[in-house]
Amino acid sequence: MHEAAITVERTGGSAVVHLHGDLVVASAREIYQTLRAVARGREVEHVVLDFGDVGRIDSSGIAIVSVVGKELERQGKQLELTALRAAHRAAFELVPKSTDQPPAERAPGALERIGDRVYGTRGNVGSLLGLMADVARQSLAVMTGKRRLPAASVISQISRMGVDALFIVGLLSLLIGMTTAFQAVTQLQRIGAGVFVADMVGVSMVRELAPLMTAVILTGRTGAAIAAELGTMKVRSEVDALAAMGVNPVRFLVVPRMIAITLVVPALTLIAMFVGMLGGMIVAGIELEMPAVAFWSRMIARVDLGDYVHGIGKSFVFAWIIGLAGCHLGIHGGRDASSVGSATTRTVVASIFFIIVVDAVFATVSTMTRYP
């Protein structure tokens, strides 16, 4: 093998290109650039490629000749190959001509894209409602004993979603409770109302922070896991396998997860509420030297059942948002590798978005109606 080289001879309207060495991938760039420059020469009408001194020729060499030939043809110029050896001729003959690629489709305009998104959203909402109806129907069938629930699956889901998340939810709630208490202490002490720190920590933990924090943690932990797991099952045709066996995928995969998350989120929220209060109590004890008994009695006096109903009630809605988003986006995702990633991302973003919207609606309605 020797280095490729190229020499060009011009006589009037024709250019003779002498190729030397191997026409292979390694020399493709140099040869292509030289040939293109020759082909574009304004006074050149006729290009002759002399293969007399060419060694090996590979696919890239053949492709270069073909590309240059097409370029010359477009300009109404001629290409001639001379001194081809038998091996070269065979190589050219064996490789089929590439077809001209069909022109790329025109990129959709802004209006089309908006329309596309609207239709896409409509389809998405439709399949989400379909999934919700399916979950309700299958849950009913399970409850009335018509269909069996994969009970082991529910228990393992509860343990994975709930028990395994206990530590992180507890730790973060403790920190949030302490932080809230620090904030409350510094503000309230200015007006000599430090003792109200219990009210502030209690109400904000029970009504807002515990449900919200738990939901956000479980979105990242559980929602993403559901979407990734179901998405991968979809990619590997496991969902189709269930359907083909006559086993309803919604009953087998979605219902256990929905049941588990419906139990787990409120339970963790309740724990988060008390651990948060505990954090507040610790800070009140350190900063205000407030005895634990005093803290708890204020807490009991201020935080009533309505606050708990508000917080726990919300957490049920958050649970369904996380579960439905994960199941829906996982099961209705695409079949390629990137669709699992996109299902996971979309689950987290959509869940957090709707959790915050729903939280705002709860806060507004309960404040305006003063109930509960």
């Binding site: 292509y32 696919s59 890239s60 069909p102 079949r335």
Partner: protein, 254 residues
């Protein structure tokens, strides 16, 4: 006689220290199509992984183009492996890329070939495998047979001297399988290439292989031309070529 393109010397290969195949001696010469045969689980795919640089042998050495594959530094090994192409059992097309981008990937990543030439090379290669005009298709929208052919196109885009194919026709209908066999033969003519094909499709073996090597019980039990093997006195080899079950199946009725 030139040195073989690929040589296994006393190779043992397997997973987690447990050999599936032991003491394998095998040489592949330039220009031939060699079939690696054997029942499911006999270790032929494992040996292929060892030959393609994916699974270090537990013992012995693999010489690729005369160089010891697993003793070279990584860069040198990659340089050597670029002269080979592999068609995986599950086509392994990148689902996020279009058909043309899948085939063009080795060119983009490993060479400095200018873009118009790459497009032409991809167009020619796709025409050769019968996928002309489908350049822009998403790889996920291709049928099973199209995916296999696309995988062959990608594995051969750099004109490799040695191509490994892991079950290229398994699971395809006979017409498409025959088409893939014809395509491999055509590739040999175009590339002057050498093929190592793992398969257990008898039709395919008869159509393309110059020579076959059969594995069982962790060793090579037979080698030779297809004609020789199908007349082999070894019961196991004979049974394989004549589709005779190991034990007569019990009759349902008594």
């Amino acid at each position: 006689m030139t040195a073989p393109l690929l040589e296994c010397r006393g190779v043992a290969c397997g997973y987690e220290g447990k050999p599936v195949l032991e003491d394998i001696d095998l040489a592949i010469d330039r220009g031939e199509i060699v079939a690696l045969l054997g029942g499911s689980g006999c270790g032929k795919s494992t040996l292929l992984r060892t030959m393609t640089g994916l699974l270090p042998p537990l013992a012995g050495e693999v010489l690729l183009f005369g160089e010891p594959l697993y003793e070279l530094p990584n860069d040198d090994r990659d340089r050597l492996l670029r002269r080979t192409g592999t068609v995986f059992q599950l086509d392994a097309l990148f689902s996020s890329l279009s058909l043309a981008d899948n085939v063009a990937l080795p060119l983009h990543e490993l060479t400095s070939v200018p873009e118009p030439v790459i497009r032409e090379m991809v167009g020619m290669r796709l025409a050769l495998v019968g996928l002309a005009g489908k350049e822009g298709r998403a790889s996920t929208s291709l049928s099973g047979g199209e995916r296999k052919r696309a995988a062959v196109a990608r594995a051969t885009i750099l004109d490799p001297e040695l191509v490994f194919c892991d079950e290229p026709t398994t699971g395809l209908d006979p017409v498409i399988a025959a088409g893939i066999d014809a395509m491999l033969l055509r590739f040999r003519a175009v590339l002057d290439g050498t093929f190592v094909v793992v398969t257990h499709e008898l039709e395919s073996i008869r159509a393309i292989a110059d020579r076959a090597v059969m594995f069982a019980h962790g060793a090579i039990i037979a080698r030779g031309t297809i004609g020789e093997l199908s007349q082999s006195p070894d019961r196991e080899v004979f049974n394989f070529f004549h589709r005779i079950p190991e034990q007569p199946l019990p009759l349902a009725r008594t």
